[in-house]
Structures are given as C-alpha cells and as structure tokens.
C-alpha cells in the first residue's frame, strides 16, 4: 500500500485524503488530486498495457491528452468504459482499472510472439498475406486479436444529456494564455465560455516548481480565477473537452465534470468568436526501443514530479534536441529524480544551461544522440553516440526524451484552418482560416520568448529502423514508412493510410510530426512540402452515449398513435409500425385466421377501417386547377365540383411517386388525398414546386391530414351501416354515385366529409370527421353496424382486398423506375392535354418500350403454393439464367381460395397466360401471368 515513488512533500495533491483504487486486481493507493496515471506511477507500476500489434509491454508515456499507451478499461462506479486515457481521468475512491490486453497477464503476454516475428507483419501485411485462399479464413482470428478493449455489455448506468449554449467568445484551454484572454474579454463585457479539459485550471502554471515561481504563478492564477468568478457573463467549464470544431463556429464539448454523479453532458456551443489556447504537445524522439516502459516525454516526467510529487523513476537520462526540455530536466533533477546525463543533439548549448548542469553535477553530451534503449521489460540503460562517433552506454532506469513542441492545432485544422511549417520551430503552426478563430499562446507556436527556443532538426537514430517507433498506438515503425515509400506511397495521405500512422483515437498527437519528418527525409523534401494530413473530430474520444444523449429507447424517434388508438386497443387490434404510425394490422390473436375473417366480412357484409393517416391537402385559389393539372398525370379541368377523380403523380424522371384521389370542393378549391406513407413528403414537394418553379400561380396549400380522422366503411352492407348516422344524407347511388363527394354536418352537429371511393372493390365510403371525435364515431358506427355484420379490419386485410382487385400500391408495386405505361395507365397519359411533371421524360423512347417491366397479375399453378414479395421471375437455362422481373405483391386470397400476386415482368402485358418460373424462398415455383384483377373485374360491386 506504500507509494514508493511519491515524494514526501510537494505537488497539488491532498495528502489528507488517500484514495483506494485497483489496477488489474491489485489494490493500490493514491491521493485526491491525482490522475489515474500519476497514482499508478506513484505505486511504481511500469507496464500498463500491451501494444496493439506486436504485444510489446508499454508504460505511461505522457501526462495529458497525448497519452497513447495507457488506454485502460476503467470503472468509476457506473460501468466499464474502454479506451480511457489514464492521464485524463481524476482518481476517485473505489475506481477499478484494467489493461485491456495481455494474455494471460499484461506483464507476461503470449502475444509477444508477434514481436519476435515482427519482420513478418510489416505495414499493410494483411493486404498481402491473407489473399490465399481468401480473407474469410483468417477473419475470425484477426478480429479476435484486433481492437483496443472490449465494448461494455448490458444496460449503461450513466445518464447522458445534451445541452446547447451560445456565447460571444469561446476560449478553449484555461492555461495562462486562455485565462488572460478570457479576463480581457470578460472585462469588455463579452459573454465568455472557457472550456478546460483538465479538472484543474492553470495549464502549465500548475507545473511551476516549489519556489518563488510557484508562488507567483499561484498568486496570478487565484487572482484571475477570483475575478472571473465575479462576472455573470463568464462560464468556466472544467473536465470539458472541446471535441469537435465544425462550420460556422459550432463546437461540441464533452463535459465529464458530473461523471461522479453518473452524468455526462454533450454540449453544442455556437460561438461568435473562438480563441484557441490549446497549448502544445511535446514530441517523442526516434531511437531504438523508444517504446520501452520507462521511456517518457521529459515534460510529462516533470509534470508528474511537480504537480503530483511523483518520481517516474529513481534516475533518468535526458535526451533532447531543444531548449525547453532543459527546463524540464533541471526541474526533474531538483524534484528528486537523479538526472545522470543530458544528451543533446545540438552541437552547442547556452552558457546558462552549461552552468545549471555543472552546478548540479550533471554530465552533458552535446552533439550526441540516443541510439537505443536497453532492457526487455523496462529500461535498464541507454546507448549513446557522441559527437566524436564514439558509442557508449549509460545505466539508467528511465529516459526523459523531448523532440520539441508541436502546437495543438487539431481543432484549428478541423475548423478548416491551414497550417504552415515553421523552420525555426521545426513544427506546424496555424496560418489562416476563414472562420472567426484566433490561436494564441503555445498553440500559435509561442512556446517561449523569441531566441529562448532553439531546436535541432528531427532525425531518426543511426540504428535499425525496425526498432524505432513512430506511432506507439498503432505500432508503426520507421521501417514501415520506409516500406510505404519503397512501394510508392509517397504522398502523406497515402503513407498515413498504408501505415495507419496518426489514425483513429489518437489522431497523431505524438506521431504525425515524426512520421512527416521521416517521410520528408526519405523523399528528399522539406517537411513543409510534405504537408500534414487532416485532423478529424473528435479531438478526444467521446462516449457513444454522450453523442446519443437521451435519444435512446422510446425516445429514439416519436411514435404516432391514431386518434382512435384506445378504441382499436379495446377491439383487440394487433399493431404494427408503418413509418412512425402504429396502425392495426389485424384484430384478434391468430393473424391468418383474423385476416381471412376480416376479408370475408368485407366481401359479404361490411368492414370498418381506420384510414386516418391518409394524406389530406387542401389547395385553394384561382390557379388551383392549373397547378393540379401540372402535378397530376390525370386531367383536372373537366372535374366537376362534388366529384372525385383518381390521380397519379410522377417525378420529373417520369417515375410514379404517389397516387390517391382528389376532390373538387368548389371551382377554386380542391382536396387531395395522398398515400399515408407520403403525406408529409408530398405536401413538402408540392410546396417546393409552387414556391420555386411556379410562384406566379395564385393558390395556397394546407395539409389537413391530422385534422380529419377517416373511417372507411366497405362492403355490400356499407350503405345500410352508414345510413344509421343521422344527418349523413341520402346515400342512393343516383344521388351519391361512385367517385362523388359530399360535406355537411351530422345531426349531432359534427362536421363531416364523405367521399364514395373504393380501395377494396366493394361499395365503400370514406367518412372524415374531426380527429378528436374519432373514437366515439368509430364506437357508434360499430354499435349500429353490428346488426349488418360490420366488423373492424386492419391493414393486412386491406392489402389482400386490394391485391384481389389488382389495385396499385405505390412503392410496393412500383419502384424508382416504374412509369404510368408500366402499370397500364398509358391511356391517361395519352389523353392528357398540356404539360405535367414527368411528361417530358415519358416522351423518351425508352419510356415506351414494350420490353420494360410491366405490372401483371400472377398465380401459382398449385393453388396452395405461396409466393413471397420480392421473389424473382427467372428466364433462360443453366448458366444463362437471369431475372426478368419480380413479385411485387403476394397473398392468400380467401375470396378465390388460392395464392395470388402481382409482378413487374418484362413485356408482361403481351405475355398473358404464359407460364413462368419464380425463384421463391430457395425453390422454383411455376406460375402463370394473369390480369391483375381476380375479383369482380367489371367493377359492378363498387358501383352498386
């Protein structure tokens, strides 16, 4: 339980509050204020994970977002979350963490065999190796081994919420630059949000050592935070990572500050201006075995020492190429980590640096580079090549490396910002962006005062390139980039995809710059000319739940209930989903039995159907008739008020998109019915034509689908049933013939609309009543109609009834290419005067060819043999077989007591009576082409 690597004093941890946590089953202790990573290091844990591909042992590399080894599975009390950076999560009591990889254990992993045979698995090996016999032979095994952790199972205990926020200025990062700017903006009255991913604001101010520097930094920090708190126009978000930067200054923030209460927040911020004060990320160096546990970023080691009072190792060798790293190494030495040597690849160091090293007794090797780290499970020494070409070894327990800084420009790049390569800084800095964004501080390349930051060029060590890691997360080696270049993947985008350097959850935070530098060297270019790849959202992984928010389960999408839903429930309806609607599919328990009973009732007595979702659009105005004439295939002008006509709508390609009847209520007033599924779509489509193409036409359109509920009464006794409604008027066929309309008020005072139309082939009325009265109206009709044998029927029975009649179901019997000629409506097109949507396309030769697929009826030779919708009609013999069409509707018809259907078949009209073969559920079924209508072909029933 002792924290052997914790200094006795110092750091921003609360030593009064020890916390117990577990790692891979071991119980350990840390302090409040620790991150999981600092607590692990304090306990001397070195190997935290196994690498993705070669299963090499890996230790903590960094102290912030750039950590790419310690991606652990963490449970803070609300379920297991994979891929959590140990450096980014605040330690809490009872936290349990585990290494996602390593079999049987992370410290001894059988997968190490992949490391021993590394030469066999270079970049892109899977593209070459698994070709014979085929990829699927290997797929199972590869998928089991791949991946970074496992997806949690079961119910998610976390709650997720979405928030929206607006502000004048969003400052990303609460370090020195960010806080300073936030204060200035706040003072000038701007509405400011500051988002900081750490649980403590301050950034590098938190890394000032225990002396006068710390006092000054703390003093400044407290003063600024205190003042910011006094402004009502400032919101400071902690543990809130800005994960995405989208167009028009919309940014997403993943807020984990309430995680201990089981809540994660995903916030969309719309900012007037954005200030990126995101700092910079220290880059690793390339030398042999630079991935061994114990090799860490110099800045990170200083971070652990100063902020958490943790020594990452007892001693270390500093390997650097720049000035900033010197500060880290000296601080490290002063914090109790013995720096046994400093290896600087630059030929000269400043007098100040030389004096500081001298004073502390640290030997300095200038013009020298690290060749390789020694050790197998952890660092035991470092091999160095000095300026005179001499190679020698130093014993050490860790390596503190620094390859210079790179601005954290991920968000800037996501915003569309372009980067520029700065020779002096040897990194990419922001250049220009069209969005209202400003980059300040280290993120803009201002790491230190000018002249205080000198850096040597990035190189890789003169050592075997297949031992030098460029991308730790994906196990990409310098040799992999060499291979990519040999195979001519010399563009940076190609190299990235070929080697996977800089991809996925890490987004190249520690790998991009080194990969580019290696590519630049191999292709003889400037790093600036090689360019960078595009950084993608999210900057840090965001839990799927946070993105989904509360749009899960029943909230995923709305459910629409019919106005008379409860009445249908009371009638024993079995509901099915049709778009968003829940509609009665049938009434009763046994589906097939119910459908047959319902069909029989409609054919012999009467049935009651709820057609409320039917699309209803009123079009009125002096140009209403002209407008409809342009959108319907059918003639509109000759329709008399009070009459109903069938209408077909096409798109401009000539394909059928909707059908339904339309009523002329008055000379300048129409009521359109659309199919239920397309009610909203057609209303929007008509609006678009009116507003965009024909704004000169005077008319208004009003969708009234939700206002009216529709009760369809169909069957030989429909007239008798409907007559029981007092005030509905004389229903005699000479007064209200088929395809006519009436409106008025019932005796109860209820307004109604009545159209005599039929989708079942029987005498049929569609009665519209105000939606709120639907349930009582249905109940009344059924009570009165019982005498005539009235019973409710659902969508399934309706589909059988209309299939028996051969009536078209748009979207079922048609696809995106079906035109009016194909479904037997050619005469309507030919009779139409003037232009309409789709006509010009129909005039093309292809639209009238006889070889097109045409809608025909179909029946199996064996009346008991069922057909399935979608089954293909096959022609030709073995080897030459092909589909010449498919079944579009199929059902058992209780009326003719056999299986029937409709199909779109090439040249179908001319092939009446022909026998065809249908490939149906794995078997060939023989069937005959027939006219689509098998019931009352003359239509005497519906005209009765």
């Amino acid at each position: 339980m002792r924290q052997l690597f914790r200094n006795t004093s110092g750091g921003r941890i609360n030593r009064e509050r020890p916390l117990t946590f577990s790692f891979n089953g071991r119980t350990l202790q840390g302090f409040d204020g620790d991150t999981l990573a600092s607590a692990l290091l304090a306990n001397g844990v070195r190997t935290v994970n196994r690498s993705f591909k070669y299963h090499r042992p890996r230790g903590i590399l960094a102290a912030g977002v750039e950590e790419c080894n310690a991606l652990l599975t963490v449970d803070s009390g609300n379920g297991r979350v994979p891929l959590v950076r140990a450096t980014m999560i605040r330690l809490c009591e009872g936290l349990s963490a585990a290494s996602p990889s390593g079999f049987p254990h992370v410290r001894f992993d059988c997968g190490r065999v992949f490391d021993a045979t590394r030469r066999l698995w270079p970049a892109g090996f899977y593209n070459k190796m698994f070709k014979w016999p085929n990829w699927h032979v290997f797929e199972g095994a590869v998928r089991r081994m791949a991946g970074l952790g496992r997806v949690p199972e079961g119910q998610d205990a976390m709650r997720y919420r979405h928030m929206n926020a607006h502000c004048d200025v969003l400052v990303v990062g609460a370090g020195y630059s960010g806080l300073k700017r936030a204060l200035e903006e706040a003072r000038s009255g701007q509405d400011v949000i500051v988002a900081e991913q750490d649980f403590e604001p301050g950034g590098s101010l938190l890394l000032e050592k225990q002396d006068s520097g710390k006092a000054a930094a703390d003093g400044w920090l407290h003063a600024v935070l205190d003042e910011l708190r006094t402004y009502p126009n400032v919101r400071l978000l902690l543990e809130a990572t800005v994960s995405g930067y989208y167009d028009h200054n919309v940014l997403t923030v993943h807020d984990r500050s309430a995680m201990s209460n089981g809540i994660e927040t995903f916030c969309k911020i719309r900012a007037g201006r954005v200030v990126l004060a995101t700092g910079a990320i220290e880059q690793p160096l390339l030398f042999g075995n630079n991935d061994l546990p114990g090799v860490m970023l110099a800045g990170a080691m200083r971070h652990y020492a100063v902020r958490f009072g943790v020594r990452c190792a007892d001693n270390t060798v500093g390997v650097v190429n720049n000035d900033l790293a010197w500060g880290s190494l000296l601080d490290l030495h002063d914090s109790g980590v013995d720096v046994v040597a400093i290896v600087d690849s630059r030929g000269e160091i400043s007098n100040r640096q030389a004096a500081a090293a001298d004073q502390r007794g640290i030997p300095v090797h200038t013009g020298s580079v690290a060749v390789r780290a020694r050790g197998s499970g952890a660092v035991t020494g470092l091999e160095i090549l000095d300026s005179r070409g001499k190679r020698f070894g130093i014993q050490c327990r860790s390596v503190a490396m620094s390859g210079g800084m790179n601005p954290t420009v991920h968000l800037y790049s996501q915003a569309g910002g372009k980067l520029r390569y700065d020779e002096a800084l040897a990194c990419f800095v922001p250049a220009h962006c069209t969005q209202a964004v400003e980059v300040i501080g280290a993120a803009a390349g201002a790491f230190a005062a000018p002249d205080d930051y000198r850096i040597a060029p990035r190189t890789s060590a003169p050592f075997r390139s297949n031992t030098q890691w460029v991308d730790f997360l994906h196990d990409v080696l310098v040799s992999d980039i060499e291979l990519a270049v040999r195979e001519n993947y010399v563009s940076v985008e190609h190299m990235k995809r070929y080697t996977t350097a800089g991809m996925a959850v890490d987004q190249g935070k520690t790998s991009n710059l080194n990969a580019l530098s290696v590519l630049a060297r191999l292709t003889g270019q400037d790093p600036g000319n090689v360019g960078t790849t595009t950084f993608r959202p999210n900057f840090m992984p965001v839990t799927m739940g946070a993105i989904a928010g509360n749009r899960q389960g029943g909230f995923y999408r709305p459910t629409r209930h019919l106005p008379a839903h409860q009445w249908h429930v009371s009638q024993g309806a079995a509901f099915d989903s049709f778009g968003l609607w829940k509609r009665p599919a049938y009434y009763g328990v046994d589906m097939q039995q119910s459908i047959r009973a319902e069909v029989t009732a409609v054919r012999h007595k009467a049935g009651l159907f709820d057609g409320s979702p039917l699309g209803k659009i009123e079009v009125s105005g002096p140009d209403a008739a002209e407008f409809l004439s342009r959108v319907y295939v059918n003639t509109v002008a000759t329709l008399k008020p009070g009459k109903v006509r069938y209408g077909l709508m096409l798109n401009e390609n000539g394909a059928i998109i909707d059908d339904g009847v339309f009523v002329r209520l008055a000379d300048d007033h129409f009521l359109l019915n659309t199919t239920s599924a397309s009610a909203e779509r057609i209303a929007a489509w008509l609006e678009q034509w009116h507003q965009c193409e024909w704004p000169e036409l005077e008319l208004i359109m009003t969708p009234v689908a939700e206002q009216w509920a529709v009760a369809t009464i169909a069957g030989p006794k429909a007239r008798d049933v409907l007559s029981t409604l007092a005030g509905v008027g004389d229903l005699g066929t000479d007064i209200l013939p088929h395809m006519s309309f009436r409106q008025g008020r019932l005796a109860s005072g209820l307004p109604f609309r009545l159209q005599r139309v039929s989708f079942t082939g029987e005498l049929s009325y569609e009665l519209s009543i105000p939606a709120g009265q639907a349930a009582s109206c249905f109940a009344q009709l059924l009570a009165e109609g019982k005498h005539w044998g009235l019973q409710p029927f659902g969508i399934e029975a309706l589909d059988v009834l209309r299939t028996e009649k051969g009536f078209l179901h748009v979207g079922g019997d048609t696809d995106g290419t079906t035109n009016p000629y194909d479904v037997g409506f050619g005469r309507i097109v030919d009779n139409k005067q003037g232009d309409f949507i789709g006509l010009r396309s129909l005039l093309r030769e292809n639209h009238q060819k006889a070889s097109r697929r045409q809608l025909v009826g179909i029946e199996t030779l064996d009346p008991e043999a069922p057909l399935e919708q979608g089954a293909h009609v096959i022609c030709g013999t073995n080897g030459q077989r092909r589909s010449e069409g498919f079944v579009t509707s199929a059902c058992y018809s209780p009326t003719v007591e056999r299986h029937i259907g409709m199909a779109l078949i090439e040249n179908g009209f001319a092939r009446q009576g022909e026998e065809v073969r249908i490939y149906n559920m794995g078997h060939i079924v023989r069937a005959r082409i027939k006219p689509p209508c098998v019931y009352d072909p003359k239509g005497e029933k519906m005209h009765a």
Partner: protein, 91 residues
C-alpha cells in the same frame, strides 16, 4: 454544422433546413431535345466557390429562399437574393 439565416425567421441551425441544390435554369418546356432535357434533369455545375442555391426552412416557416454559399469555405453571402423583402411583423 452550418448556421443559416432564414430571411423570415433569422439565424437557425442547419438541422431545421432542407437543401434544394444549386439554382438552375428555368424548367424547359416540352419542346426541348433529349440532350437538353437530360442536362436539366441530371447535370449540375458543381461550382467550386460562390454558388447560388436553394434552401427551405422546413422545420420552421416552410419557406424556400435562395442564397449564395462559398462551397469551399461554407461562407454565406449575407444578402438573400430571392428578392422577397423580409416581412414586417407588428407585435
């Protein structure tokens, strides 16, 4: 995500809008040849730069309007070019 200014409702999120594509030549009559008709149906200029396009504030006022967008940067021309004056509402 784009922030789009509806001439009637003001600035709103892209989610509320439906994209109507680039503004085309007026719809040709029946007399045009097959090639010209195919052009109207299928071919677009796909401009790199400032493009005049249609948007509909579908989950708002339902009105269609035209505006200019830079397809490279998503910058909108602040002036709506549909010629419809913003209506004055009296509260």
């Amino acid at each position: 995500m784009l922030r789009i200014t509806c001439p009637y409702c003001g600035i709103r999120d892209e989610d509320e809008f439906r994209f109507g594509g680039e503004v085309r030549e007026p719809r040709p009559g029946l007399e045009v040849g097959d090639t010209a008709w195919a052009d109207y149906l299928f071919n677009r200029n796909n401009i790199k730069g400032l493009q005049r396009e249609r948007w509909c504030h579908a989950d708002g006022c339902g009105q269609w309007f035209e505006l200019n967008r830079n397809t490279l940067t998503h910058e909108f021309d602040p002036v709506h070019s549909n010629g419809i004056p913003r209506p004055e509402f009296k509260g």
